[in-house]
């Protein structure tokens, strides 16, 4: 390009002149040449009337756009290019895609520089998409978001569902119909949050919807992203980190029912539950209710049955117990009764035994064998007494006999008295003899006589006076004389 700058009235060119000059320079270099260019498809818009497709191509790094250029797919090429692209990538050309385009540089004084796009290499985009997807996954994992929603607890009854969908969409219809047509009418309440679910605007739209839901999170149990009936195109957004991270951070478990036939998107990977279709999503929710409903029914039955069993067991137990108890008590009574009867029955023999034993102890001398009958001992005692009595009698007899003998001796001794008497008699006889000998009669018998005067024997004649009377005693007779003379 030539320098045209002059201070005063400089040499100047018309705009067209310059543009033509630029055009010729470019044509010289780029005419009839095409290049495969890697770029990002920032925007794509089809002009409905002309059928031409206008693209906005950019190259950027993290911070800034480094290059930017318009591109045009002429109507005659558009169909073949988009068909080719879709056939491989399973998604239409859409903003945000990395693409490899066959470009011819064209310059038009009015429209400026642009690429005339004549072909596309869809496999490049596919690779780029896969790369982006991998990057999203890797980043989510790094940030600990990948499992975050999946790990969240789904309420047993996800009753209040915040549905992100489009009211008129087939997917939403399917979802709601499935819920409503379920044979059991559970109290599932759905609140619709409308959002763009595909294409370039999907990410901000979905993010907004998520934010709205989180603004009243206490009213919801779960979020369902429901899409369907719009084909498989424009789902690249679901691989994007931006969207995936928002969903992963959700405070509620997210159910996805995006409904497509392509590979699982990143969002679908990280949601709590990914259902292939909206119907499946509704069924998933209904299943939860069915499971609980079933579980409650089963619980009721279980309680019924368990209680019945329990009560039955308790009743049986008590009944068994009662029977055992009765048996025990009866046994116990019988035992006591038996013991008492035994003692009672043994009593007579005890008594008899006692008496027999007592006999041996009390009076060993009387060793009489007796029948050990009841109160045989009685006769033992009696015998004992009779024995004593006999002993007494015998001892008595001996004693009395000895006394009698003693008395007899005494009697014999008494006869001594007779001997004594005869001694005395002899004594007397002896004295009698003596007296007889000395008796004066004996002298008189020999002729002597005794003369008495006044009764006194006269021994002296002088004492006599003549004339007095004297008595003369002879052996036989007495003479009375008078004294006549004295010699």
């Amino acid at each position: 390009m030539e320098h045209v700058g002059q201070a005063v009235n400089p040499k100047s060119f018309t705009l067209l002149e310059v543009m033509r000059s630029v055009q010729s320079v470019l044509q010289r270099t780029y005419a009839n040449k095409s290049y495969w260019v890697q770029c990002e498809l920032a925007r794509i818009s089809l002009h409905a009337q002309s059928g031409h497709c206008y693209l906005e191509l950019i190259e950027k790094n993290e911070n800034a756009i480094l290059a930017q250029l318009k591109g045009i797919i002429w109507a005659d090429k558009y169909d073949s290019i988009t068909e080719k692209f879709k056939a491989v990538t399973n998604t239409p050309l859409a903003g945000g895609m990395k693409v490899l385009l066959l470009c011819a540089v064209s310059f038009h004084p009015v429209h400026g520089l642009s690429f005339n796009i004549t072909d596309v290499e869809p496999s490049f985009t596919l690779g780029e998409m896969a790369r982006m997807k991998n990057e999203s996954v890797a980043r989510l994992k790094t940030e600990g978001l990948f499992d975050k929603n999946r790990r969240m607890k789904m309420p047993l009854l996800p009753k209040r569902i915040a549905v992100i969908s489009v009211e008129t969409s087939r997917g939403y219809h399917d979802f709601m119909t499935t819920l409503l047509n379920h044979p059991v009418q559970y109290a599932i309440q759905c609140t619709l949050f409308e959002a763009i679910l595909q294409g370039e605007n999907a990410v901000p739209s979905l993010t907004r919807a998520m934010n709205n839901i989180h603004g009243e999170i206490e009213n919801y149990d779960a979020i369902a992203i429901i899409r369907g009936g719009a084909g498989d195109a424009g789902l690249v957004c679901y691989d994007e980190y931006a969207l995936a991270s928002v969903i992963a951070r959700s405070a509620l478990p997210v159910i996805s029912g995006i409904g497509h036939a392509t590979n699982e998107t990143v969002v679908e990977m990280i949601v709590h539950k990914n259902c292939i279709t909206p119907t499946a999503a509704a069924t998933f929710i209904l299943d939860k209710f069915d499971v609980q409903n079933q579980s409650i029914s089963e619980t009721i039955n279980l309680i019924h049955q368990s209680t019945k069993e329990f009560m039955g067991y308790q009743k049986q137990d008590l009944s068994n117990f009662s029977s055992l108890f009765c048996l025990l008590v009866q046994n116990r009574i019988e035992r006591s009764s038996f013991n008492l009867k035994s003692i009672h029955a043994a009593m007579p023999s005890h008594v008899a035994g006692f008496l027999s034993f007592a006999r041996q102890n009390l009076f060993p001398a009387v060793n009489i064998v007796l029948n050990v009958k009841r109160f045989a001992g009685h006769s033992v005692f009696l015998n004992e007494l009779i024995c004593v009595s006999a002993t007494l009698q015998q001892v008595m007899a001996v004693r009395i006999a000895s006394s009698v003998e003693e008395l007899s001796d005494s009697i014999a001794d008494l006869s001594e008295a007779l001997r004594l008497l005869s001694d005395k008699g002899e004594q007397i006889n002896h004295i009698e003899e003596k007296v007889k000998l000395l008796d004066p009669v004996n002298t008189l018998m020999r002729g002597y006589s005794i003369t008495r005067m006044n009764g006194k024997a006269v021994t002296d004649a002088d004492k006599l006076i003549i004339g007095e009377q004297i008595e003369t005693e002879l052996a036989n007779g007495v003479l009375i004389s008078t004294i006549e003379k004295k010699n």
Binding site: L318, L324, F325, V329, S336
Partner: protein, 65 residues
Amino acid sequence: MEKKKTYEEAYEELQEIVKEIESGNIGVDDLGVKVKRAGELIRFCKEKLFKTEQEVNEVLKNIEK
């Protein structure tokens, strides 16, 4: 019977009475008393079972409505 007695307590006391009778360490005097007591306890348990069953049935009937 004391009002506050639970089925468990009653049942336990019953078991103890049975154990006592089984062990043989119970006199005839006690036996009468214990058996009377056991009778009361059994009656109490039966009534409690009956009442519990009724309550339970009532509850279950209401659940199914």
